[in-house]
């Protein structure tokens, strides 16, 4: 809880970044904007979305590589590390020159990394589009950094890792993924295992291999939204990205064996905190046409959201937890659907855990109320539409789904699936996925 900013109920819908399940009327899909798409000969896909946003452009370079792609032991954390290295420049535009040019443009430039994606984004004035494209295409094709610079940046990344240790949620999540997965690379979190992050300065040569494999046109999608003309965007893309050589080498990600029994672990946070519990269930890989996957996505909010029975009981009436929430959003490979709860009394941890299972059993035995399902669909529709207010927000909301699927059309397909989900589908999903043998339970306590 962050007391300073907002107390209240500003954002009721947090499920999968506000994507909506109900179609906007008239055009056959939820997404209200026209878009155009081109694929260059080298495989680079460019999606252009003109939008009434005078003078503004959001430019997202979506690299379909995240910590998921770090399959070699001892080399976790490199996707995120590259997020840092990409700001170190090229021979044509060395880091300080790149920084100066971006500064002159007054661009809001940043990047983020998750399990499935590394995303570089800039927001800037429309007149700077060509310069941005020149700079971005240059660093994606010609990134160049010395070993010394590499090692210095590794220090900054280790600092980021240490910063994360001061949050009990980071500690909990790291333990959850490590316990739930045996083989698949979701076993480690995006920042990487601590010992790997610490050892990064010794891996200069490997870093070049990583870049060479994954920073290739077939693995990148440009998403450009705002005050743009698609024809001009494609012509510039051809000019600046056309020479980028193919060469993507897919990662050899081990398949996770089926989980056949519950897993449990405890972890201690080196500080004071109320106990926090995470209950994670193995889910399905992202497939926009999968009704079971769509049903799982909806089930999280129906069972644990702010209008659920368990929320009313544990948060409002009995006040046994500070919060309970669910993140059942999909991932590119089968990931985890997780319920989090912060428990007020350490003696009540097992009691709260039982309440979580009871809430699931209730949905397994009885179909969810149709009105609640419809309210959720309405919630998602309005959450989605209200979130499309700036080019940056439009691009930000699309980036994840494009990263998982490689195709903006997956958005409409997913929402068509979500729209079709029935109470029976929710019940089936709960019976199939929210079961003891597929779950991992982590309990974090403070010192």
């Amino acid at each position: 809880m962050d007391m300073k900013i907002i107390t209240g109920i500003l954002t009721v819908a947090v499920l999968f970044s506000g994507l909506a399940a109900v179609r906007a009327s008239g055009n056959g899909g939820i997404f209200p904007y026209a878009f155009e798409e081109r694929v260059l000969d080298n495989g680079l896909k460019i999606v252009a979305i003109p939008m009434d946003s005078p003078g503004q452009v959001a430019y997202y370079s979506i690299v379909r590589t995240g910590s998921r792609d770090e399959y070699e032991p001892g080399h976790t954390g490199f996707a995120h590390f590259f997020e840092h290295m990409m700001f170190r420049g090229t021979e044509t535009y060395p880091g300080p020159v790149y920084d100066q040019l971006v500064t002159k443009m007054g661009a809001d430039a940043n990047a983020y990394t998750s399990n499935d994606v590394t995303c570089y984004h800039l927001k800037f004035a429309a007149q700077d589009l060509e310069k941005v494209m020149e700079l971005e295409s240059d660093r994606f094709q010609n990134l160049s950094y010395s070993e010394q610079v590499f090692k210095t940046e590794a220090g900054a990344v280790y600092g980021e890792y240490l910063k994360g240790l001061s949050s009990p949620f980071s500690v909990l999540y790291e333990k959850l993924m490590d316990t739930a997965f045996d083989k698949h690379t979701y076993k480690h979190t995006t920042i990487g295992f601590g010992e790997d992050v610490k050892a990064m300065p010794t891996m200069y040569e490997y870093s070049k291999t990583f870049f060479d494999r994954y920073y290739r046109p077939e693995n990148v999608i440009l998403l450009i939204v705002g005050d743009i003309k698609p024809g001009k965007v494609f012509s510039l893309a051809g000019k600046y990205y056309g020479g980028w050589e193919k060469g993507y080498v897919p990662p050899q990600i081990p398949e996770e064996p089926e989980q056949k029994a519950e897993r449990r672990a405890h972890v201690t946070f080196d500080g004071k905190t109320l106990p926090i519990m995470a209950v994670g269930y193995k889910g399905l890989a992202f497939d926009p046409e999968s009704i079971p996957m769509a049903a799982c996505m909806l089930a999280g909010d129906l069972i644990f959201g702010s209008t659920s029975d368990i929320y009313k009981k544990l948060v409002l009436d009995q006040q046994r937890v500070q919060f309970i929430s669910a993140d059942f959003g999909p991932s590119r490979d089968p990931g985890l659907m997780v319920v989090f709860a912060m428990i007020k009394d350490e003696g009540d941890i097992s009691g709260v855990e039982k309440e979580i299972y009871r809430a699931i059993e209730k949905v397994q035995k009885n179909r969810v109320d149709e009105d609640r399902l419809n309210a959720l669909k309405s919630n998602m529709k309005y959450s989605f539409l209200m979130g499309l207010d700036t080019p940056g927000n439009v691009a930000g909301r699309l980036a994840r789904i494009i990263a998982m699927s490689g195709d903006i059309r997956a958005l409409d397909r997913l929402y068509a699936s979500l729209d079709q989900v029935t109470a029976d589908d929710i019940q089936d999903a709960a019976k199939r996925f929210l079961v003891k043998d597929k779950r991992t339970v982590i309990i974090l306590k403070g010192r």
Binding site: T7, L10, F35, T152, A156, K163, G271, K272, L388
Partner: protein, 503 residues
């Protein structure tokens, strides 16, 4: 290719002074600031009560925040809280309260489709909070957990900043976190909350803000509804009378941690609308633009030396910097501070990092900005401010802050002033307002006693890099490692984390 958009989207013009109408009137006794944006399919509300944590009675610190939270996170006389959640849910709408030192703003946003229903809920929360014991217990417990555990043990950066603000403002109405102090919050009863509500949530103490695609009658409707608040003029709180800092004062908060979070700075007599504000804003952008690699401190500490994740400076309060990219709205204050935020560095690099940052500020004072840096920063800011207020709600927030500061249009003034500023003017403002002799310094660290001795004795603090560095960096490091701070033994306080924010 998809069909044409069916949903009209909200306009996203950034600086829209010429296209939007801002009105402020006091008809019905209630002042209103409006920002109509016809193409926006949503309506944004900012209901500002002129009350904040500065109004917390002594011994009841946290009362303003608890009261506001009970209004927006609790039941009303007409609806249980669970019913409110259910009613808001299909609209994907909500409202909440932001409490700062001087302002309490109830914010919300809804799609036009649901405006009537939403307005009922929003005004019900403001006019008829039920103040139920069960809601009070829930929110008070959450607040105590935040103060006792989250702030002290889950976010050293927030902990450091709050400790720093407390050092600067102790003994004044600004001197405690908005969430309160632990013993004070424990002592607050529901009666205190009810009394606070009656005192401050009055018709004469509210300014309403509405923006977006609403129809004109909405404004009168809202004013009519809020006119049910009791009339009562609230006496203003005098601005905080800050005890001047003499020398460099250090608070070392002892806790088990592998990295040290650092915040330091001093009060400044500059605020929006002042001539020097805009000059200092430009200088500060060069020195430490928030979460931007253009920040000079970032370049020195992170980029060149890899010591941490970022290093920034501020001339206005910037709460929750780790969670936001651009300045917040509705945290307007009559007293501001110059603040440096050094994100956690390894404990062994803490002394060095502090020296490096203080040295850079002193260099800026001594040498001023170079013509090249001045021009680059001016060019940067001309476009960068376009990102400050991308949405209707944020622009509405700026308009309300303009009202607080008694200025016309801050965003536009910033834009216009950039063209007029000269390097001389900026360098004069730096010399007038920045200094390094009198500062408050906070470090959340592991071995406070050892660090204290090193600080007081000006013990050299050379860094040992695990990786090679260019010769020019190593040369500069030699200067930084012995850069003299002026910290007297009597000016260092060591306090265990557990003892912070108790009372």
């Amino acid at each position: 290719m998809k069909g044409i958009a069916t949903m009209v989207v909200m306009i996203a013009v950034l600086i829209l002074g010429s296209l939007v109408m801002v009105s402020c009137d006091s008809e019905n006794g209630i002042q209103t600031i409006t920002l109509p944006v016809d193409s926006d399919p949503t309506v944004a509300f900012r209901i500002w009560f002129k009350v904040g944590s500065q109004n917390d009675p002594q011994g009841k610190e946290g009362l303003a925040a608890l009261t506001a939270a009970l209004m927006t996170d609790g039941s009303t006389e007409n609806r249980r809280y669970s019913e409110i959640l259910e009613a808001l849910y299909p609209m994907a709408a909500g409202y909440g309260a932001s409490v700062d030192k001087e302002m309490t703003v109830i914010t919300g946003r809804v799609h036009k489709d649901h405006l009537d229903t939403y307005l009922d809920l929003l005004t019900d929360a403001i006019l008829h909070p039920a103040f139920l014991e069960e809601d009070f217990n829930r929110i008070k417990t959450n607040t105590l957990n935040f103060l006792e555990k989250t702030m002290r043990y889950s976010n050293d950066e927030m902990f450091g900043k709050e400790t720093f603000y407390r050092m600067i403002f102790q003994g004044t109405p600004y001197g405690h976190p908005e969430a309160g102090l632990i013993e004070s919050v424990r002592s607050i009863t529901l009666d205190h909350v009810k009394q606070f509500y009656q005192t401050y949530f009055t018709r004469d103490n509210v300014i309403t803000g509405v923006g977006g695609g609403y129809e004109k009658p909405l404004i009168q409707d809202l004013k009519n509804r809020l006119s049910a608040l009791p009339p009562k003029v609230v006496p203003p709180v005098p601005p905080p009378d800050i005890r001047p800092l003499e020398g460099q004062h250090v608070t070392l908060v002892q806790k088990n941690t592998c990295s040290t979070a650092i915040s330091f700075g001093f009060p400044i007599d500059v605020k929006r609308g002042d001539r020097d504000f805009y000059a200092l804003w430009l200088a500060n952008s060069w020195l430490g633009e928030h979460r931007n690699s253009s920040s000079h401190l970032y370049q020195v500490i992170r980029e060149t030396r890899g010591l941490n994740y970022g290093d920034y400076s501020y001339i206005e309060v910037f709460p929750n910097g780790w969670a936001r990219q651009f300045p917040p709205v509705n945290v307007a204050r009559r007293r501001q501070i110059f603040e440096v935020w050094i994100r956690p560095v390894p404990n062994e690099a803490a002394h060095f990092s502090l020296r490096a940052a203080v040295r850079e500020i002193q260099k800026l004072i001594d040498n001023g900005m170079s013509p090249e840096d001045f021009e680059l920063t001016r060019e940067f800011l001309k476009k960068y401010i376009l990102h400050y207020a991308p949405t209707t709600s944020t622009r509405l927030g700026y308009k309300m802050d303009d009202h607080f500061y008694g200025i016309k249009d801050h965003l536009k003034t910033m834009e216009k002033t950039l063209d007029k500023l000269t390097l001389e003017e900026v360098n004069e403002a730096i010399r007038r307002h920045l200094q390094t002799e009198n500062m408050a310094i906070v470090m959340i660290t592991d071995n406070a006693r050892k660090l204290s001795r090193a600080l007081v004795n000006n013990t050299p603090s050379p860094l040992e890099y695990s990786t090679p560095k260019p010769p020019e960096v190593l040369e500069e490091d030699k200067e930084i490692a012995v850069y003299p701070l002026n910290i007297r033994a009597g000016n260092v306080t060591i306090i265990p984390a557990d003892e912070m924010f108790l009372k």
